[in-house]
Amino acid sequence: MNPTRREFLWTAGTAAAALAASQAPGIHWTTEQEEEAGWEPGIEERQSSACLVCPARCGIRGRTVDGRLVSVTGNPLHPMSRGGLCPRGVGGVQMLYHPQRIAAPMLRVGARGAGEWRSISPEEAVGLLTTRLGALRAAGRPERLAVVAGYCAGSMDELWRRFLHAFGSPNYVADDYPDGTDSVMALVHGIPRRPGYDLERARLVLSFGAPLFEAWWSPVQAYVAFGRGAQGERARGRFIQVDTRFSRTAARAHEWLGVQPGTHGVLALGLAYVLIKEQAFNADFVARHVSGFEDDVDAAGRPREGYRSLVLRSYRTEEVSAITGVPVERIVALARAFANGPGAVAVCGADVLHAPDGLLSGLAVHSLNVLVGNIGRPGGVMFADDPPLASFAQVRLDPAARAGNARPPVAAVERPALFGTGDRVARFAAAVAHATASPVDALLLYYSNPLASDPHPEDWRAALARISFVVTFSPFLDETASLADLVIPDLMPYERWQDAPTPASYPYPVWGLAQPLVAPPPRALHTAAAILAVARGLGGSVAQSLPYQDFPALLQARARGLFSARRGMTLGDEFESIHYRQMEERGWWLAQETDFDAFWKDLVERGGWADLLYDGTDPTRLARTASGRIELLPDALRRALDAEGRKRQPYAALRDTSPTAGTLAFPLRLMPYRVSTLASGTLSLEPWLAEQPALFPDVHWVPWVEVHPATAQGLGLGDGTEVWVVAPRGRYRARLRVFPGAALGQVNAPYGLKQPDGALANPLQLLDGTTDPLTGLPAWFSTFVRLERAS
């Protein structure tokens, strides 16, 4: 009883023709109309590319029909994502065709923020930019140009740096999204980069607050590891989540340990205690590679306690249990499971570091990996090296540039945090806002929307007011862009070339390549192209420093490095990859492609390059410290703590910090967390995701907060009430959701959501400003709020 032919034609017809109809929040909607008009299939293509929706950079395949991007699926050849994607990536098509996307440069005509714009040609836009910047150089003040860039790993980041350097400004403020783990690694291993985790081959993954299945650095890496593992079904690792919140990750992990806020480090050391007591740690590894474990004497001959003594003295299981709230037997069982054989890895979540004692906690968590010697081993912590790309052309500096580069950067701080850059973006804004005269005349914003995303929007508002020329490359009229003077909309991800290296969390170097899947709007301009054009326009040393006619050319030039590196391969299926790895292990390497053009062609077709061989025997991958050993008690840290005056000892200090508590006025602890559907900090969600931003609770389109039933009852607030989340610093509106998974007296506040009318709901802008003095990172979980019914 299949459809009759008429029925078929009729319905096919409805796949065409639309007609304008009812409007919904901010968006213009269309309604399907029935129509007899038939529809005939178009020309279909499938191409590899990379997902640029979030920093994880999975491999994708795009399906286009008649030049429209119809769907995005995973690229099976990509070693990290293996053909899988997360919801955000799949919904990317809706990002591309986002109703609010800007397709052509816009020049402000009315007063700032009045929203009056004149649409101009790309050439005109570039011309404007060139003259403005040229003037700065002519005036000998190139440093008065500043660039604030959001997440842009790969060559874009490099391009900006080079451009500014050649231009002569030290004011490149890249938000590299510091999460503090790089500081920990710098201290312990002398390797200043985020650790990679070989989750796929791990036997036990012990995650401290890392939202592996939500918005981790690479959620798909975690999904693949959880679902498939490297050896398939037989050896799938066990996932244990240590988290204050009953997060979605906690919900799905094989085990969840709820801990008191900010006590992750204490729990970690509690585990270390058991390992040491039971001689279950890897004594041999510690002896050969680690220093700071045993007691010793300092330069002045004074005896110093080592890691062992500190832990044994301060972290008896009962005490740890009391502090963290984890039962003794679970601590012991967990420690034994962790020590029982190789392949147990402790993952340190960004949020462990976003606490007043962040750095020390991070140190404590990572020390577990050191104790079991699971560094550079299969299923352990690894430090991927960067893909062997050919470096950029030499930067040429003319006197003006030299002078400018020599001047102090705006965001420089008098007392810098010793072990981290802190929040540079915020600092930049504060500096501009409070300086006697604005040190900046021209500001370029790339992938950055500080007005919505920065914890201190007021600073940014003040700063922007003092900067005479503000340009953004955002393809959306986001909060910051609407206060800009010039908008030169970037191409959207599926329209542009870009290299897409995997995030540090993935332990192997992978150079994904995003190629255009659809033609961009005629008057939009790739930001890279804009930079190159401006450089050309400025001429002289700036132009000579960036001798690339366009971005693809630049990428090709860099890819030559991969071609001649005699290692790795263009992405291949699992058999190819394994085969290659085995060859490389035996010291062989056979070229797949004879000449570069063939190599590039493969690179584009397959979606990138990867080197899946990790040489764990290389000592420089264990430690690049002065001592050449892994430092459990880095001197720098000891000194820093002593400098603080109040005699604190690296590990012992953690247990003394008394947990912050609420007040009468603000009794509830604010628990910001990133919804897994969030693709960018502040970009409103793709309709499919906005409609169902989380599996649970059941909310649509609006920001919400989750509280425990008892808490809600105590407040006399029912499920679904509209509430104000009120903190000393400010408030925002959200829908209250009663969720038994929320801890008593806490407010789980997803961030990155907006009201349908665009009103922000950003818990991070309520943060009380507490920071970890050692890293300068804001503490995300020490703010207290109250909830008020919004009438």
Binding site: M1, N2, P3, E7, T11, A12, T14, A15, A18, A20, A21, S22, A24, P25, W29, T30, E32, Q33, E34, W39, V65, R68, V70, S71, T73, G74, R82, G84, L85, C86, V90, G91, V93, Q94, Y97, P99, F213, P219, V220, G227, R228, F246, A251, R252, G325, P687, W688, L689, A690, E691, Q692, L695, F696, H700, F739, P740, G741, A742, A743, L744
Partner: protein
């Protein structure tokens, strides 16, 4: 005799929801306005169901992706007065949109509540129409719709196989949700074909079907999580 079916391993599923969105993207599923969504009129042919038991800190949550079960003995098909919902010889339960009179009897008859009704004509933000999938009908106002096992992909795969005159391979026909699932939790294939994974999985010790006691004979199997 081919019988298409699906096995979902709940031990692998992380509840990420990629399958949901992949389904929406593949099948031109419309978005509804906030008010409509709050009324319970949002569409999700594939929906990751959640169940929370207990209270913090003794709490657990389970996820269960739920497409149409493509029952071999489908109550929905029984009750349709005009045969607008039908089961084809290979066990795929489909909808004939232009025939449906919108009585919603099938929706009431479906024990798994997987049927969705077009209360209004479907809507998209104007710009978003560009990504409509031309292989899939856009449903008009007033008819019922639901998961079709991405039937259009089977038709495609058949044509291609015929063009290259070879048999249909397991990988030729994979629905969007199975294709995207990053954990490989969704396995799809011919339940009767020993060379397809589902054939073995459906008799796995962990295999079960929803409300088997109803005798609806679902062709979607679940592998319960390992203890």
């Amino acid at each position: 005799m081919t019988r298409w079916g699906m096995v979902i391993d709940l031990d692998r599923c992380t509840g990420c929801g990629a399958c949901e969105v992949a389904c929406k993207s593949e099948n031109n599923i419309a978005t509804v306005t906030p008010e409509q969504a709050d009324m319970g009129r949002a569409f999700a042919w594939m929906r990751v169901m959640t169940e929370v038991t207990g209270e913090f800190p003794n709490i657990s949550m389970r996820f269960m992706p739920r497409p149409c079960m493509h029952c071999d003995n489908p109550p929905c098909v029984q009750v349709c007065p005009v045969g607008a919902t039908y089961i084809n010889p290979e066990g795929i339960v489909g909808q004939i949109y232009p025939r449906c009179i919108g009585c919603r009897y099938c929706a009431n008859a479906c024990p798994y509540t997987v049927k969705y009704f077009n209360w209004f004509a479907p809507r998209w933000p104007a710009a978003e129409r560009a990504h409509l999938n031309p292989d899939v009908f856009v449903r008009p106002k007033g008819v019922i719709e639901k998961c079709t096992f991405c039937h259009h992909r089977l038709q495609r795969a058949r044509e291609d196989a015929r063009a290259q005159n070879r048999d249909l391979r397991e990988e030729d026909y994979q629905p969007a949700c199975a294709e995207i699932c990053p954990t490989g939790a969704i396995v799809f294939g011919d339940l009767e074909n020993p060379r397809h994974q589902v054939h073995g999985l459906k008799v796995d010790a962990r295999a079960m079907r929803l409300m088997e006691d109803l005798g609806t004979e679902p062709k979607v199997y679940y592998l319960v999580p390992k203890a």
